[in-house]
């Protein structure tokens, strides 16, 4: 009976998925499994500049990580950036989404305008904020000096305590609208009945938000956090363009450090090791998050 049932599997619910997935699997295997395997292999090797070839070094790269302050610095910068940006963009994104979620005339235009920030390549966004935050000619610097926040002696991007904030500003500017879009989509698909009921029950708008909107939006927020989080953890473009990781190492992220080891110093093995650490960390974080938030696809 089971054999016959299995034969029947293809019938409806169980028609073979393989042909549909084959192109996807083929592309992902070539473009992601292969690099993964290659990186694992590389992490036990190192490029020898004088021999012009890659040589096995055993566990050297992995053990070098332990004593590499720059590596630990970059982990802490990455985590700071990652968590700060997630919180800021979720909160700000939600606030703006609530603000703009209206059928009134004019709001459509505002929503469309907001999406403009998404089409600017991050590399150009970085340059844009580099100009805006320039210590002498930047408009932001000028404004902040006028209102007394800056005193003219601490360039935003060249001061250890503010450089990361300066980079974050570009990220917030570029990606908060992305969160707004996602949250707006979520708000749009909420049922109206609970709101009507809450209105009749006399709930305040904050209570309505706390008790109805937030729980209903839970999944949307979780998905947004997951998608944005993955990209935030690999952040590269802004630092690459704006600060080169400086001043000192205050804006050096894991991705940037891996990039530099790989391309500037031709330490392919060490670069690969750092990349793998980055991959492992985000895999753990993402899976924990999926587990806790119960996101199902």
């Amino acid at each position: 009976m089971t054999a016959r049932a299995n034969r029947l599997r293809w019938l409806v619910s169980g028609e073979s998925a393989f042909p549909w997935l084959a192109p996807l699997i083929a592309m992902l295997v070539v473009f992601t499994i292969y690099p993964l395997v290659y990186n694992v292999w590389l992490s036990f090797h190192e490029y020898a500049p004088f021999k012009r070839r890659v040589e096995p070094v055993g566990l050297d790269n992995w053990s070098a990580l332990l004593s590499d302050d720059r590596f630990w610095d970059s982990i802490s910068v990455t985590f700071t950036y990652f968590s700060a940006m997630l919180i800021v963009q979720v909160v700000l994104g939600m606030a703006i989404a609530l603000l703009l979620d209206s059928e009134q005339r004019g709001f459509g235009l505002l929503r469309a305008l907001l999406t403009l920030t998404l089409v600017i390549p991050p590399a150009i966004t970085g340059m844009m904020f580099l100009l805006i935050e320039d210590p002498e000619f930047g408009v932001l610097t000028w404004i902040l000096e006028r209102v007394g926040i800056l005193d003219g002696t601490n360039p935003i991007l060249a001061t250890g305590s503010t450089a990361l904030l300066g980079v974050m500003l570009a990220d917030v500017w570029q990606w908060t609208p992305f969160m707004v879009l996602i949250f707006m989509a979520g708000l749009r698909s909420l049922p109206s009945e609970p709101y009507e009921a809450a209105m009749l029950d006399g709930a305040t708008s904050w209570q309505t938000f706390r008790r109805i909107t937030l729980p209903l939006m839970g999944k949307v927020i979780a998905v947004a956090v997951l998608i944005r989080g993955i990209d935030l953890f690999r952040i590269f473009d802004y630092m690459f363009v704006m600060t080169s990781g400086g001043p000192g190492t205050s804006t050096y992220t894991l991705s940037l450090y891996a990039w530099q080891q790989t391309f500037s110093f031709i330490k392919w093995g060490y670069g690969a090791t750092i990349s793998l650490v980055s991959l492992i960390l985000i895999l753990i974080i993402a899976n924990l998050f999926i587990l806790v938030s119960k996101v199902r696809w």
Partner: protein, 499 residues
């Protein structure tokens, strides 16, 4: 021909060319006859786009027929070859890429593809190509600090001359290149890593008007320079600062500034044992000087590469800089800057102490206040087309092409002695965009003040990361003292060098 007629005819010629009705060569020569070099095309349309004064007749800026004939002749076996080169966006490369390349392509039947990138990315592309031995580029643009790493992967031009007499360009003489440049840029151990191709070098550029207002003469010593800069900042700040810099943390430019002060105080990066010596007494003295001078600069310097530095001069925020001479022609362009005609170039102030000699330093480091950031052009050993690449390289570095580059590229520093003396170059010795009036200073600096970074394979890492990241920390206030910072650099640098 009346001016309006000329414009109308020109418009037709452009149109014909765009529609491929006439050849590029015919187009160029026709435009030249109309009194407009290829480069001057824009000026025919409405407003003077190309700001060069007609001090030289435009047909003077046509490549020499002899050279092109030679190219056509030796290139016969190689027609159809494609050559690739990655280069920083520098005046010579841009002049070749956008103006001169077509002449070569037409004569040789080869195709030249030039990839223009910021300096760090050129390094990344080049090292990846060498490391992979794949020969994705036929020619390398080699910053002098990479010479050690690349030396074994390029042809020594002297060998090429000897091995391929039939491909040698007549009158292409290695001896014509400024000897100081050959030593400083191209030589690694006993080999030549290509030939000098361009030479940005530190010269002193200052606002003559301000200096005169203050009653100063051009600074002759570093100490005097500091005092003048401080006086100007004290007097005119924060609207005007006496000096400026390129001091962005983690950036190569920060290291460049550092070496100038280090060498200027008789210090050196390495001692003769190959150990980092920036933390010795002279090194600390240099750091103290630099820290003082930094106080006279706009507070933004720690966020700037040469771009911000140059802009601070060009927009009238700072009064002087000891930096790349390449900027000078730009300062004289009234459409882009507020200081056209106000700048003056002189040799760098004299060092505080006698310079160390090469025998006191390590890895071929040559101390000198005039930090040079020159590059050489070389044929890659990994290239699949070394012979055509050699032809192109000779053409790109020959006297005639170098003159055109210097004229078109806006008064960049030539690497050949003969180019400085060419009438086409001398003709541009006047105030205005693309001026060559600073080239005399450049030439003297090369001969007398030039400082060259050491040649060792790890230098790329040291100069792009180890040193500027920590110097950046120093200026961000992360170290207690200059000594602490330099000791930290010493420790890190020695570790990098020892592997």
């Amino acid at each position: 021909m009346r001016d309006s007629d000329r414009k109308r005819y020109l418009a037709k010629v452009v149109d014909d060319y765009v529609r491929r009705r006439i050849s590029r060569r015919r187009f160029l020569s026709t435009s030249a006859q109309l009194g407009l070099g290829a480069a001057a095309l824009g000026s025919g349309m409405g407003r003077p786009f190309w700001g060069y004064s007609p001090a030289h007749a435009d047909d003077m800026l046509q490549p020499s027929k002899d050279v092109l004939d030679w190219v056509a002749d030796v290139s016969k076996p190689f027609r159809g070859t494609t050559l690739k080169l990655a280069t920083e966006s520098t005046p010579p490369s841009n002049a070749i890429n956008s103006q001169l390349k077509p002449y070569f392509e037409e004569a040789s039947g080869m195709k030249i593809e030039i990839e223009v990138l910021p300096l760090e990315q050129v390094l990344q592309k080049l090292t990846l190509d060498i490391a992979s031995q794949l020969g994705t580029y036929d020619l390398y643009y080699i910053d002098q600090s990479w010479a050690a790493f690349t030396s074994r992967d390029v042809f020594d031009p002297r060998e090429q001359l000897a091995d391929k007499p039939d491909l040698a360009m007549p009158e292409w003489r290695v001896e014509d290149f400024l000897p100081a440049l050959v030593d400083g840029i191209a030589r690694y151990e006993d080999r030549l890593v290509g030939v000098p191709y361009d030479i940005p070098i530190f010269i002193m550029m200052y606002r003559k008007d301000i200096w005169e207002d203050m009653g100063f003469e051009a600074p002759t010593t570093l100490e005097q320079y500091y005092e003048q800069a401080k006086a100007i900042t004290d007097e005119m700040g924060p609207d005007m600062y006496g000096a400026t810099g390129q001091m962005k943390s983690g950036h190569y430019s920060l290291e460049c500034d550092w070496t100038a002060w280090l060498w200027g105080h008789g210090g050196s990066i390495f001692n003769s044992d190959g150990k980092f010596s920036g933390n010795d007494e002279r090194g600390i003295e240099a750091m103290e000087y630099w820290t003082r001078l930094y106080q006279t600069m706009p507070p933004g310097v720690t966020g700037w590469t040469w771009d911000g530095q140059g802009q601070s001069i060009a927009q009238g925020v700072a009064a002087s800089m000891m930096s790349w001479g390449e900027f000078f022609p730009y300062f004289d362009d009234p459409s882009a800057t507020k200081v056209s005609g106000l700048m003056e170039a002189v040799r760098c102030p004299a060092p505080k102490r006698p310079l160390r000699t090469v025998s006191d330093t390590g890895y071929g480091e040559i101390p000198g206040v005039g930090h040079q950031g020159g590059s050489s052009l070389a044929v890659s050993r990994n290239s699949k087309n070394p012979d055509p690449a050699w032809i192109f390289m000779q053409w790109a570095t020959c006297h005639d092409t170098q003159v055109l580059i210097t004229a078109l590229g806006g008064g960049t520093g030539p690497t050949r002695t003969s180019v400085y003396d060419d009438p086409r170059i001398i003709a541009n010795n006047r105030v205005g965009p693309g001026t060559t009036r600073h080239l005399g200073v450049v030439r003297e600096t090369i001969a007398n003040d030039m400082g060259s970074e050491p040649d060792l394979p790890e230098w790329a890492e040291l100069s792009n990361d180890t040193i500027p990241v920590r110097l950046g920390k120093y200026f961000a206030g992360d170290y207690g003292s200059a000594k602490e910072a330099m000791d930290d650099i010493a420790q890190a640098a020695d570790k990098v060098v020892s592997g």
